[in-house]
Symmetry: C2
Subunit: 241 residues, 2 copies
DNA sequence: CGGGACATTGAGCGAAGTCAAAATTAGTGG
DNA sequence: CCACTAATTTTGACTTCGCTCAATGTCCCG
């Protein structure tokens, strides 16, 4: 087991098995080479450690190569709000571009690996390639849309709806990565789920219990199996009537 | 009074009195010219009309030149969730970049004017100017950070906190535009405030009543005067102890 | 003046929060 | 491997904030 925290070995999108999932999806060979030039290193982030913290100077975006992260912001009073969970192929750090300083903190929920993408170089590269430029814009726009979805959830859904929507969203992302969408191992604690979903840990626990009792999901600690995807979908859509 | 809905007259950022507030803030003369070339027209949007709707093909960003907008998304079941309010100098439409189709709808809350910024041309221009490119990235990043702030509010604040934070946020934006931050005319209905803040219209009304009773704000329909900014700030920060 | 949209206020209820305790799991060192 | 502690999760009892339903009030505009 190596404890090295960074390396330049094999840091090439063109040979990465995530290239269909990550930033370079569908890029031409030429553009891929440009991106390879921009990406400088790969880094390990152990469970509990951070890729970046609120207040850090922004220099790079990070692509999750393996593992699982949470991003959160903290109020002046010290309350944490988790704003998202990121896994393989997803990008971290776009919160820092605007001010040059990260407003969020990205912590690894399991031992993870990230690719460091120095933003100045990405900007240079994307000035030379319209396709790469478009891709960068798309990724940022999708983050905006993703957050709007969270607002939708926090703004008007009931506890059961929120949890159902959350599980479905995780399942969908698993599926996009080629895993069975029904079986999953939650990387985050009940506390983190509750924080993200805007409810207390007790309510999360009770809501899981209800879903289990109703036979919609099987719950064994952090292992979740979706037994009735359609029913879960119905719950997420707001089956109150 | 003209009813023309669009015009190419005087559509030049370089001569716009909002250039210190909008996308071109601090741009060089050369970059400003590039931006002027990209921006094609100005358009009127009457109260209740939309700049774009969910499902529309994305072609342009829009800068609010005058007026007030709300942006909202709608669930398959028909529930609307307002995701933001935009005023002078702010940009609309970044939700459409990712998919090529708008996910949100932008409606004018009062008769407004917008500048149309064809995105393809903005991308072209920003490939020629690192500064313009950076500015586009900044605007998108700030939108991401803004939405994170909304998540923070929806995720953990109480009704009174939310309303206080909302009023302060509006006041701050007024101030940035050179207006007295204490006096404001709300452009949105109680229903829209409630929708945005994740609470019912009745709770909005009651919370306004409480703030008024406590002497923190003066409320006369949609006219609000902040009487005790510090106290309002304390409430927004979560004065529960 | 009257009608419709919008806003306020009241009463009662319910979903989720709080407080508290028990149960289960994970981590640590002997 | 096991014992012991700490952390996490579950469950229960009670409280409360905000929602629902309903009535009343106010403004705007023809």
């Amino acid at each position: 087991m190596s404890t090295a925290s960074s390396s330049r070995a094999q840091v090439a999108c063109s040979h990465c098995n995530l290239r269909e999932l990550c930033l370079p999806v569908g890029l031409s060979a030429e553009d891929m080479a440009r991106l390879d030039d921009a990406i400088s290193e790969r880094r390990s982030v152990l469970r509990g450690a951070t890729a970046f913290s609120a207040g850090d100077r922004f220099t790079s975006l990070f692509a999750v190569r393996a593992g699982f992260f949470k991003t959160s912001i903290t109020t002046p009073e010290g309350r944490e709000q988790i704003t998202g969970f990121q896994t393989t192929g997803e990008l971290l750090g776009m919160d820092g571009i605007g001010t040059g300083e990260h407003s969020a903190t990205a912590s690894a929920l399991e031992d993870s690996q990230i690719c460091v993408i120095p933003f100045a170089e990405l900007e240079d590269a994307s000035r030379q390639s319209a396709e790469l430029q478009r891709r960068v814009h798309r990724v940022m726009s999708r983050e905006i849309v993703r957050e709007q979805g969270v607002m939708l959830m926090l703004g008007g859904m009931r506890a059961e709806q929120r949890l159902a929507a959350f599980l479905l969203s995780l399942a969908k992302r698993l599926q996009a990565r080629g895993f069975a969408p029904a079986d999953m191992l939650l990387r985050m604690s009940r506390e983190e789920i509750g924080n993200y979903l805007g409810m207390t840990i007790e309510t999360v626990s009770r809501t899981f219990a209800k879903l289990r009792k109703d036979g919609v999901v099987a719950v064994d600690q952090r292992e979740i199996r979706i037994l009735q995807p359609d029913e879960l979908q119905t719950l997420a859509s707001g089956a109150s009537c």
